[in-house]
Amino acid sequence: MRPLVIAWKDLRRTYRSIASLAMMLLAPLVLAFALGAAFGSGDNFTIGPIETIVANLDSGSQSSEPNPTDLDAGAMLAGFLAGSDLDDLLDVSSAESAAAARAAVDRGDAAVAVVIPDDFSEAITADAGGQPELGSRVLIYSDPTLETGPAIVTTVVNSVVDGLNGARAAYLTSLQLGAAAGLSDTERLAAASQRAAAAYAAAARSEPPIRVDGRDPNSGDESAAPNVASQVLVGMMIFFMLFGAATPARNIIDEHRDGTLTRLFTTPTPRNRILAGKYIGVFAVVLLQSVIILLVGRLLMGARWGAIGPVAVLTVCGALVAASLGLFTVSFAKTPAQAGAVSAAIFVFLGLAGGNFVGSVDIGGAFALIRRFTPNGWLLEGWGHLLFGGSWSSIALPVAVVVGFAAVFFALATFFFRRRYA
């Protein structure tokens, strides 16, 4: 009973402080609103069409006489880039020469120039019988200050070139198969090979029969894509939960300085219950903070958090680990100022290492490994699963790890506090 009285007192004191409210509630919500608006008014990320200029210098691979199987790979690539499928992504115009295309990029009229060489088609159908292979290169010239647009254009061009390289492989294979079958009419053999190459290239442009479906095995419905604001808000919420916990945790040091903790020790309330009350107070403060942020996010920002049960469990786990970490960071400090400086440094480091500033977005690489060593990184992973439609099974591991972190921090905090006050 008395621990709850202490916790209730601490809860009221914290939520009566304007500074605490600003740090715990206003800061994460304002940041999430601002970042959400910056990346698409709270909706998903959107990228405008990339200004692309194409200089197609290729005139195709032609037989000595006009033939319907002649390959015009340059037109194929240019047509693919300008096709309706990529309307949303690319805004394509054409240039007469490579120099004109590059000049358009230099002037800023286009972000990317694609220069298709004049031997593009020839390179695919060359080497019918021991000729050296032609080395043909598609040039992609881009504004050096841009990253995303040129990367997208390069990817699209690569996919077409890969298909054309496959067509060349089909061409050469047809030649070999024909020769092996005893065909000696080289003109008919070349025509058949060109038809095979053209058929391969056409097939490559059509809907493939087999696709790789990349899906997180822990996630459920892949169509449940969250909006940007909710992804950002999750990161901000967890980050500011740490600060939210530090405020009431630091309150123990404040009370020691102000004499109220000593006065509490003169009452018949045992010291372990007093400390328990302080612990519960920190947990309650953070739990209420996260519930408020989740509700505001849902009501004002349209965030879809996921199934209520897993959301509740993850929220409680977040409050647990934030409270225990907050207590731990102040447990070895001697003054409130020292506690504030130490905890702020630790939280900012954890925020950076754990990925709070990129929300639930999975960046990968070494960063993915580093965030595994932070409680907030695991919390973000759990929230990431929930935001993309995950359920109990998808948060089981993050929850287990986060509870483990909380237990360790709690034990350390208790050790230091008991050593000081027991």
Binding site: R2, D258, T260, R263, T267, P268
Partner: protein, 315 residues
């Protein structure tokens, strides 16, 4: 049941080189009396009070409050005592009433009992009208009253007040002293620490004088003053600091004690003040010093302290 019994209490901070805050201290406080611990800062008063509040464990010796040991039966002791700390130990962001409610709950009060006691204490400390205001908006004197009120909620048998009048205005000081007398009249045993001689004289049934961790005298005011005999005290204020003069006066016939000079002020314990006063002016003049102020005081607790320690209480 009994009052408070302290037996051979010793406490040293950061042994073996730290200061000895209590050195074999023994005394007894009878139930129903006001007992003052008088001594300068650093005498060990707060240490003794902390041990009796079960905040500190003694290195040696022991103490019983209401028959319970402060070391082995701390919870029982804490139910009997109300502690008023020297500094205001309350929450500025809670209202006066919320503060009292919180501290009442910490003493185990609940429901209607708590509400009634909070009302009674608010009445007692005269803050019924301001009970809904946050403590941060109270004056220093009002906070002091709440600080005391928070220790009275559970009807303690023993009330400890640790220098409760430090740094407050005379009006609030008067109210606190009158309040202490009223609590005592209502049956509360009071342990009061102070370095103000006047407060100890006004309030106390008995006084214990502490210096450098030791209890150097205990008794009623009359009993303590009798220790000085027929001596009187002369307080002087010179226009300069003079160790030479102090040393010279210590050798004068009829002077039993001279305190260390502090900002030109020093006190002498003398047998015949009227004869000696002209000699003091004379010897001061010989070294070019001027006496700005002189006061002759009948024996009191200050005189007792000077007599016992060779130092003024203010030292």
């Amino acid at each position: 049941m009994g009052g408070i019994v302290v037996e051979k209490l010793s406490k040293q901070y950061d042994p073996p080189k730290g200061p000895v805050a209590a050195d074999n201290v023994s005394f007894e406080i009878r139930e129903g009396e006001i007992f003052s611990l008088l001594g300068p800062n650093g005498a060990g008063k707060t240490t003794v009070l902390s041990i009796l509040s079960c905040l500190l464990r003694p290195d040696a010796g022991g103490a019983h409050v209401g028959g319970y040991s402060v070391t082995d039966e701390a919870t029982e002791v804490k139910k009997l005592i109300g502690v008023v700390p020297q500094d205001i130990a309350l929450y500025d962001d809670l209202t006066g009433r919320e503060n009292l409610q919180f501290w009442g709950r910490m003493y185990g009060l609940r429901g209607s009992t708590l509400a009634r006691r909070v009302d009674e204490v608010l009445e007692l400390i005269g803050l019924v009208d301001r009970q809904r205001d946050r403590l941060g908006k109270y004056s220093g004197g009002m906070k002091r009253r709440v600080n005391i009120g928070a220790a009275l909620l559970h009807h303690p048998r023993f009330l400890y007040l640790d220098e409760p009048t430090v740094g407050i205005d005379p009006q609030s000081r008067r109210a606190i002293l009158d309040g202490v007398k009223d609590f005592n009249t209502a049956g509360v045993t009071v342990l009061y620490t102070t370095h103000y001689m006047e407060e100890a004289q006004e309030l106390s049934h008995r006084i214990g004088i502490m210096d450098r961790g030791a209890m150097i005298a205990i008794g009623t005011q009359e009993e303590l003053v009798r220790l000085v005999g027929e001596q009187a005290r002369i307080d002087l204020h010179l226009d300069r600091e003079s160790e030479t003069l102090a040393a010279q006066w210590r050798n004068l016939p009829g002077v039993s004690s001279v305190s260390e000079p502090e900002e030109g002020r020093l006190s002498l314990l003398v047998t015949d003040a009227n004869t000696l006063a002209p000699r003091l002016f004379e010897s001061a003049g010989e070294i070019g010093a001027r006496v700005n102020e002189i006061a002759l005081t009948e024996p009191n607790l200050e005189t007792v302290f000077l007599h016992l320690t060779g130092r003024a209480l203010r030292d």
